[in-house]
């Protein structure tokens, strides 16, 4: 099931972008209103709910005992899972994760893993037998575009909310989170780049680019989506746009 965008709406969005305007009145480089709620779920070790415009995403972090990977016997394990809940959109059906959910989880995972945001080496318990595994579960509750950005922000907010489990095998003073990678997406509409596309803009765009950066502005993950293309100049432009916005989003975690 997918929704067809009407030609009237498509033309309207493109006309606006040509004038440097957007369908919801934002500037080209403006994020939607962001709200971050820390710790709504007590059954999780850490949790966060993010509202990005009308999009709502909830992330829960659970710390569990697990067997380590054979080649890293003393390192914790990171697992990111995403569910595009049927509550969130008429186009999401119950069933096994669709390709968009898998991409979403893997992009969020990449941002956290490649930046070494979590010091997994500190999460060993008994070498070769028992380590802490960090499960990050993303639940998309309401879909109005920007799912990767909202999910990545909620994930890092949830990690920053983690209270160590009451378990004698937990020896650390807190949770070893050293960086806060933030993902920001730009969409290409009619040869212009707009930041944080809403759902209508996503339906019209030629392509999108998500760039995940950490505090010092270095890039730890990127993902291009959509069937269009980007020029090299557009990539540079995208980096400038997203890096600045990542700073804004990071500040919302507090």
């Amino acid at each position: 099931m997918y929704e067809i965008i009407s030609s009237v709406k498509r033309d309207y969005i493109i006309d606006l972008v040509k004038q440097g305007k957007r369908i919801d009145g934002r500037a080209i480089d403006q994020l939607r209103e962001v709200a971050v709620e820390l710790g709504p779920i007590k059954t999780a070790n850490g949790s966060a709910k993010v509202k990005l415009g009308k999009t709502q995403v909830l992330v829960g972090v659970k710390l569990m005992h697990a067997e380590p990977f054979p080649d890293t016997p003393e390192s914790g394990v990171l697992i990111v899972n995403a569910e595009l809940l049927p509550l969130a959109s008429p186009t999401f059906e119950p069933g096994p994760p669709r390709v968009e959910a898998i991409e979403l989880a893997r992009v969020v995972d990449r941002g956290i893993r490649e930046s070494d945001a979590i010091d997994l080496d500190k999460l060993g318990i008994k070498p070769g037998e028992d380590v802490w595994s960090v499960f990050i579960d993303i639940d998309v509750l309401d879909h109005d575009g920007g799912l990767i950005d909202a999910s990545a922000l909620a994930a890092i907010a949830a990690l920053s909310d983690v209270k160590p489990p009451e378990d004698e095998d937990w020896k650390l003073p807190g949770f070893p989170l050293s960086k806060r990678p933030v993902a920001v997406t730009v969409a290409k509409i009619d040869d212009r780049l707009v930041v944080d596309p809403c759902l209508d803009e996503e339906r019209v765009m030629d392509a999108r680019l998500t760039i995940t950066t950490v505090e010092d502005g270095s890039i730890c993950a990127m993902q291009k989506g959509g069937t269009g293309y980007f020029t090299r100049e557009e990539l540079e432009q995208a980096y400038d746009l997203t890096c600045a916005k990542a700073v804004e989003l990071r500040a919302k975690i507090g």
Partner: protein, 230 residues
């Protein structure tokens, strides 16, 4: 006897009237009691009881003006999404008002997937199969304008009694509106500020449809914004 105030907000299962009353839309009868079936405004006129729903999907009725989006085509016409549990059929002869030789003409030149069409409901059968026609002036494929979608339940308020609300919006913004019963509205206007103002008015109506005095409040808001923006 009536158990609620007129225009009171009622919920499903709420007792509205008891005795010799006729139950209409949004209500149902059990024995000699009439209850609300939906969340809405209780409306009692003389001996007729109904509930004006504040939410709900659009169910097509013959004669309704609708704004549809083409989602598929077939041999002799197109299937349109009309923001309803039911899709609608538009035969090519209903669109172009002449006989079309399907062997000679390629009908895809008339409408493409994603095109927006202003039409009216010609027929609805008991299986909810819907046929559209474009007999009035201005109907057919729509180009340009801004498309707004609101809850179909609020459309009567956008029109107003005898079109009074619609007149207010059009006169104060200088825009032209096509209002579909199925919750879709197209706004045409030369000044984008005025188009956005018309959108503001529509969204305000959607939010406050259940509060009386709406026409005056909308007129006031439009005046304020117009003079404020000058």
């Amino acid at each position: 006897m009536i158990h609620v105030q007129n225009r009171e907000i009622v919920v499903p299962g709420q007792l509205i009237a008891e005795g010799d009353y006729q139950h209409m839309d949004g209500s149902f009868r059990e024995g000699d009691k009439i209850y609300s079936a939906v969340v809405g405004l209780a409306d009692v006129k003389e001996k007729r009881v109904r509930v004006i729903p504040l939410q709900g999907r659009y169910v097509p009725h013959v004669g309704d003006l609708v704004i549809g989006v083409v989602i598929d085509s077939h041999q002799s016409g197109w299937i349109l999404d009309i923001n309803s549990p039911y899709t609608a059929n538009l035969f090519v002869s209903e669109l172009v008002h002449r006989k079309v030789d399907l062997n000679r003409e390629d009908i895809s030149k008339f409408l493409s997937i994603g095109d927006v069409v202003l039409a009216s409901v010609k027929e609805v059968d008991e299986y909810m199969r819907v046929l559209l026609e474009t007999t009035e002036r201005g109907m057919g494929r729509i180009k340009g304008g801004k498309l707004v979608e609101i809850s179909p339940a609020k459309i009567p308020r956008v029109l107003g009694r005898k079109g009074s609300m619609l007149k207010v919006i059009e006169s104060k913004t200088g825009c032209t509106l096509a209002v579909g019963q199925n919750g879709r509205i197209i706004i045409w206007g030369d000044d984008p500020k005025m188009v956005n103002l018309a959108v503001e008015a529509i969204l305000m109506i959607e939010r406050e449809a259940h509060i009386s005095g709406l026409t005056d409040r909308v007129a006031l808001m439009l005046e304020k914004e117009k003079s404020g923006g000058v």
